[in-house]
Symmetry: C2
Subunit: 309 residues, 2 copies
């Protein structure tokens, strides 16, 4: 699957991914759930609204980008109707030729990890036919439980030509509390050791120069990104933290390998809520929110092509 | 919420929780999805089957136990119909007076963590009324992202009288890869430092002697459990790994405080698939699978009362 992602990145000259993480507060008023709904009816309306919002943004940006990254928490908070919207979003993105990185940050052990991997990347056997429950192309995975938690995902990836991105160094301010702790055994930080393990977990999933086991490393920590790029030469890095969280194109330079590959940069709010941003709100009305998202994608691409590659 | 859990544990003299982690292979043949179904129809039938299986086990065990712990991965693998079965299971358990620990192992940052917390422990505002998306009483949470990932859960717990259990030392064989690493800053293992943080995160959520921020510590590591009991005096410990994973009643002694409280022990397969176990299969037919589960609960309680308390 990593080869498919690289092909799409090269075809569109766009090492970026749009984070489809909608909130109700982001919706333009004409898409907001109508007032007065309560209970399940409200959740149904919320799910439908965020799906329509996503669809419009996908329509205006799909020729520019290789992939999207829906953050499942934003859907899960609306219960079953929210998860229906998540699944419909995955299917709609596929119909537009986009790859889908499910930002699900799942992680458990043994048969439970297999179940999560099946849910998001695998298939269930149904009377000799198969059915894919959520059907993303990649999923993000949490490493805290060690190899027992990752191996089942890798097995499902091999069987179904899929990939994962393992959390290594996250973009948030407190990510260092545990991830930056220096280990007595190595004299280096935990995130580096996790990075070494990611490179190892992926070693028998190579497609060309990269493996199907990627890493998540925040744009907000460029020096650590530089070091992790060295530690994980065959690992694709999914980079959150660009834009709204403070990362810039120049911060991203060392996340890429010399081949111009090796990293894919996510922006969520900065793209999908662009019409609310000072930079775009004079040029685009609320009704044209999706055109503002397209302009924000173009600006992000320019920044990355000029300053990171 | 921890006070409610303790009240139920004391009322039933049962510091245990039944893990509702059904697989299709566990189902007795009269509950299995009928043959020949494919696609969505199969997923619907699978969801309905595991819900009926859960219901029967809840009916025969609810007078003996304070709580259940459904593992959401086992439902998520059947897509939307599986998650409908999860939600129906939560509601059914509540109707039988049981508390529900959602074993969801979620964890993200900021507004995303808030969204997960809302999904599982909180409510969504719907035209001035509230609606609870999944409505568990407790959820398990992964600490790898640090305070940014936990704080939003704690806030939702405070607002809605709910609780969490944070992964500290998990029960699986490879849990030591990262969790046991000695930190240069403290000279002690990472799991101990996470334990200290759990005690701190919970400090302003006390109800009586315990906080609403609990910890997950595997029965398979009794010495580490003993140490963590000292490090986290006000933290309730959810203990997986009993039974099928190898933990015994005697291993659990030091997970409890002197007040006989402080720990709640989970068994999943050992209870819900008891009718397939050599110990019970001669006494219970497949049709009476739920009675075998009741017998397994009684045996587990005896073991814990005799050897751990």
């Amino acid at each position: 699957m990593i080869k498919k992602l690289i092909d799409e990145i090269q075809k569109k000259n766009a090492p970026i991914v749009v984070g489809l993480d909608p909130t109700l507060a982001m919706l333009p008023s004409h898409l907001s759930p109508k007032e007065g709904l309560s209970g399940e009816a409200f959740l149904d309306a919320a799910g439908e609204a965020i799906y329509e919002f996503n669809k419009a943004i996908v329509d205006t940006t799909c020729d520019l980008i290789p992939a999207v990254k829906p953050q499942i928490a934003m859907y899960e908070q609306f219960g079953i109707p929210g998860l229906i919207a998540f699944k419909k979003t995955v299917d709609y993105c596929h119909s537009k030729g986009l790859l889908v990185i499910g930002d699900v940050k799942r992680g458990d052990i043994g048969s439970t990890s297999t179940a999560y991997a099946t849910a998001h990347l695998g298939t269930v056997d149904a009377s000799g036919q198969t059915v894919a429950p959520f059907d993303e192309d990649f999923a993000t995975v949490n490493p805290y439980l060690g190899t027992d938690g990752i191996k089942p995902f890798v097995d499902v990836c091999k069987a179904n030509d899929k990939g994962i991105f393992v959390l290594v160094k996250t973009s948030n301010p407190s990510s260092g509390e545990f991830q930056d702790q220096t280990l007595e055994s190595t004299g280096r930080p935990l995130y580096e050791y996790v990075g070494e393990m990611v490179e190892k977990w992926g070693s028998d999933t190579m497609e060309g120069d990269y493996t199907n086991v990627g890493a998540v490393v925040g744009a907000t920590y460029p020096e650590m990104g530089k070091r992790l790029r060295e530690v994980m030469p065959h690992t694709y890095i999914l980079v959150p933290g660009y834009g709204a969280q403070g990362g810039t194109g120049a911060d991203l330079k060392h996340f890429f390998n010399k081949d111009g590959l090796g990293a894919i940069v996510n922006s969520s709010r900065g793209i999908i809520a662009a019409y609310k941003n000072d930079k775009y709100k004079d040029r685009f009305s609320e009704e044209n929110f999706a055109d503002a998202s397209r302009a924000a994608v173009e600006d992000m691409l320019q920044d990355i092509r000029d300053n990171a590659l």
